[in-house]
C-alpha cells in the first residue's frame, strides 16, 4: 500500500489531539458532575489514534493485526459488560495486567529486532549510528535502556495484576507465604536485572547478546511479578492494583520512547504519575505505607498474641431489630463489602426509605476503603439509588456516633473493629475505623461467625450494646423490610 507523503504528519497531528483529549478526559473524570463525559472524550481520542495508526508507512501483517484487535476487543467488551459491579476491582486488575503485558511484548519485539540486526552491522565499538544505514531495528543507548526497563516493569505489572485478579476473584488462597520469601524474591529480582544488564551492556557496545539472556530476563521478570504479589493479602490488593496501574503507565511511556511515539509517552507518563499519587492516597486511607503493603506480609510472623476478647455474641431477630430502628431517632447504616457481595444494597435502601418515611434520620457511613477500593462502596450505593446527601465520609460521621441510636452494620468487619484503636498487637492497629462502637446500640448483620478479611476477631461483636442478626445480607434486609411493614398494619 502506498500512502501520500503527508500521511505521517496527519498521524502525528491526530496523536497530538489524542494526547490532549486524554488529559482533558481525565480532568473531567475527576469531578462527579463531568465524569461521564470524560471517558467519552478520552474514548474518542483513543479511537482516532488507533485508526490513524493503520496509515503509518510500512505497516504489514495487517490481517493478523485486525484479527487480534477484533478478538481482543470483543472478548473484553463482553466480559466487561457482564461482570457485576462488585467485581469491578478485579476487572481493573485484569485489564491493567493486559496493558502491562502488551508493553512488555512491544519491548521484547524491539529488542529481538535490535539483537538480530546487530549481526548485520559492521562491528564498531562503540557503535556508530551511520553503520545502521539501511538496517531496521536501530536503538540508541537511551532507547535501549528504556526498552529493558519497560519490559521489566511491564512484565511485573502483567503477572502481578493477574495474581491480584485471581486473588480478588477468589481463585487463589488469600496469601502464600514461606520462610525466607523476601530473600528468594530479592534473588529472582537481582538475577533478572543481571541478565538484562549484561545483555544491555553488550548491546550498547555493539555486540549481539546471547538470546538466553533476553529470554531469562523476560521470564524472570514475569516470575518476579508473581513472587512479589503472592504474599500480599487480599485486603491490600486495591493498593497493589493501583500501583501496577502506575507501573503499566510507566512501561507504556518507556516503550513509547523506544518507538518514538509521543502519544504513548504522554499518556503513559500521565497515568504513571496519576497512578502513583492514587496509590499513595489509597495507602493513606488504609493507614498503611506502601512499603508496609509490599513487604509487610500483613500479620505473617507477628509473634505477639492478640488480646483475648471477653464477652459473648448476643443474637437478635429481624423483627426486634426492625422495631428498634423504627422507633430510633437517628440511624447510621454502615455497609461493607459483604453487603455488596450479597447484592443487598437495593433492599437496604428500600429499608432506609421506609425508615425515612417514618421520620427517622438515616445516614450511610462509608469508610474510605469500604468495598474493595476507595469509592467502590459509593459506586455500589449510587447504583442502588442512594442519594449523595445521605452518604457521609468517615471524618464527618465519626464525631456523631455517640448521638446515634442505632448503627446497622451490614457486611463490614475490619473497618468497624475497635481493636484497631485499642490493641497494639493487632495487625490492624492504627488503621482509621468508623467509631460504630460508640453508638447507643449496634446491630450487626453477618452471615456466620467467621472473621473478616484480615482474619482478626472483632471486639465490636462482643460489646454489651451489640446484637448480632445472623443471615445472608439480602435475606436479612428483606426480613427487616417485612418487619417494618408489619408495624404499620
Amino acid at each position: 500500500m502506498t500512502l501520500p507523503g503527508w500521511m505521517p504528519t496527519v498521524v502525528e497531528a491526530i496523536y497530538f489531539i489524542a494526547a490532549v483529549l486524554f488529559i482533558w478526559g481525565l480532568k473531567r473524570m475527576s469531578s462527579p458532575r463531568t465524569a461521564r463525559t470524560g471517558i467519552v472524550w478520552a474514548g474518542a481520542g483513543m479511537a482516532a489514534a488507533i485508526i490513524v495508526t493503520f496509515f503509518l508507512p510500512g505497516m504489514h501483517n495487517l490481517p493478523w493485526m485486525i484479527g487480534a484487535i477484533v478478538v481482543g476487543v470483543v472478548l473484553s467488551w463482553i466480559v466487561g459488560r457482564r461482570v457485576p459491579m462488585t467485581a469491578m476491582p478485579q476487572m481493573v486488575a485484569l485489564f491493567n495486567g493486559m496493558g502491562g503485558g502488551a508493553a512488555a511484548a512491544i519491548g521484547a519485539v524491539e529488542l529481538i529486532k535490535f539483537n538480530a540486526a546487530l549481526g548485520l552491522v559492521p562491528n564498531t565499538s562503540p557503535i556508530q549510528p551511520e553503520a545502521w544505514a539501511g538496517v531496521a531495528g536501530h536503538l540508541g543507548t537511551t532507547e535501549l535502556v528504556l526498552a529493558f526497563v519497560g519490559v521489566l516493569i511491564g512484565a511485573v505489572s502483567f503477572t502481578g495484576s493477574l495474581i491480584a485478579f485471581s486473588k480478588l476473584q477468589g481463585w487463589m488462597d488469600r496469601r502464600f507465604v514461606f520462610p525466607l520469601q523476601r530473600w528468594v524474591n530479592l534473588a529472582i529480582f537481582v538475577v533478572a536485572v543481571a541478565c538484562g544488564a549484561i545483555a544491555l551492556a553488550a548491546g550498547i557496545e555493539g555486540h549481539a547478546f546471547a538470546w538466553g539472556l533476553l529470554v531469562g530476563f523476560i521470564v524472570l521478570s514475569l516470575v518476579f511479578g508473581i513472587a512479589m504479589t503472592l504474599p500480599i493479602g487480599g485486603a491490600d490488593m486495591p493498593v497493589v492494583i493501583s500501583m501496577y496501574n502506575a507501573f503499566t503507565g510507566l512501561a507504556v511511556a518507556f516503550e513509547g520512547f523506544v518507538l518514538q511515539n509521543e502519544a504513548m509517552i504522554i499518556a503513559g507518563m500521565v497515568v504513571g504519575a496519576a497512578g502513583t499519587l492514587l496509590t499513595q492516597l489509597m495507602a493513606k486511607a488504609m493507614n498503611r505505607s506502601l512499603g508496609n503493603v509490599l513487604f509487610g506480609n500483613f500479620g505473617a510472623g507477628g509473634g505477639a498474641a492478640q488480646q483475648e476478647i471477653a464477652g459473648a455474641l448476643k443474637p437478635i431477630d429481624a423483627n426486634d431489630a426492625a422495631v428498634m430502628m423504627a422507633y430510633a431517632e437517628r440511624v447510621a447504616i454502615v455497609p461493607g463489602y459483604g453487603m455488596a457481595v450479597a447484592q443487598a444494597q437495593h433492599k437496604i435502601w428500600e429499608f432506609a426509605k421506609l425508615l425515612i418515611d417514618r421520620g427517622v434520620k438515616v445516614k450511610f457511613a462509608i469508610h474510605p476503603v469500604a468495598g474493595r477500593m476507595p469509592g467502590h462502596m459509593n459506586v455500589l450505593l449510587a447504583e442502588a439509588g442512594v442519594p449523595y446527601d445521605l452518604i457521609e465520609d468517615m471524618d464527618d460521621i465519626n464525631p456523631e456516633f455517640p448521638n446515634i441510636d442505632v448503627a446497622l452494620v451490614i457486611g463490614a468487619n475490619d473497618v468497624v473493629n475497635p481493636v484497631a484503636r485499642t490493641d497494639r498487637n493487632s495487625p490492624i492497629y492504627g488503621m482509621p475505623i468508623l467509631d460504630v462502637a460508640k453508638a447507643k446500640n449496634v446491630i450487626v448483620i453477618k452471615r456466620g461467625r467467621g472473621k473478616g478479611f484480615a482474619g482478626i476477631e472483632n471486639a465490636l461483636f462482643y460489646a454489651d450494646n451489640t446484637r448480632m442478626l445472623y443471615g445472608d445480607g439480602q435475606a436479612a434486609a428483606s426480613e427487616l423490610v417485612a418487619g417494618l411493614k408489619t408495624l404499620d398494619v
Binding site: 488507533i50 504519575a273 449523595y388
Partner: protein
C-alpha cells in the same frame, strides 16, 4: 525524533500533569478514575500495532500478535468498565424506583 533532554522535559511535564489532575479528586471517584487511567494507558495498542506492523520473523509476529491482543483487551475492557462505573454518576438526585430493580 525525540532525544535526551527533550524527552526528559516531556516526561517531567506529563508527570506533573498527571499528578495535578488527581490531587484534587474526591474519594468517591478514586475507583472510577483508576479505571479511567487504566483505559488511557490502553494507548499501548498503538505501540503494539507499530511493533506488529514492522515484525518480520515468525517469533516477532507471534509476540506482536500477543501484544496487540492484550492491548486491545486493555482498551476495550478499560472503556467498558469505566463507562459502567461512571454511569452511576448520572444525577445526584434520588434515582427513580425502577433503577432499584435493575440488576447489574
Amino acid at each position: 525524533m525525540i532525544t535526551g533532554f527533550l524527552a526528559l522535559y516531556i516526561f517531567m511535564l506529563a508527570a506533573f500533569t498527571g499528578y495535578e489532575i488527581i490531587s484534587r479528586v474526591p474519594v468517591i471517584l478514586h475507583t472510577p478514575l483508576m479505571s479511567g487511567s487504566n483505559f488511557v494507558h490502553g494507548i499501548v495498542l498503538v505501540g503494539a500495532m507499530v511493533a506488529l506492523g514492522h515484525a518480520d520473523t515468525p517469533v516477532e509476529i507471534a509476540i506482536g500478535v500477543v501484544a496487540v491482543l492484550l492491548a486491545a483487551g486493555n482498551v476495550a475492557g478499560g472503556y467498558v468498565v469505566t463507562e459502567r462505573m461512571l454511569e452511576m454518576f448520572k444525577t445526584s438526585k434520588p434515582a427513580s424506583p425502577q433503577s432499584a430493580e435493575k440488576k447489574p
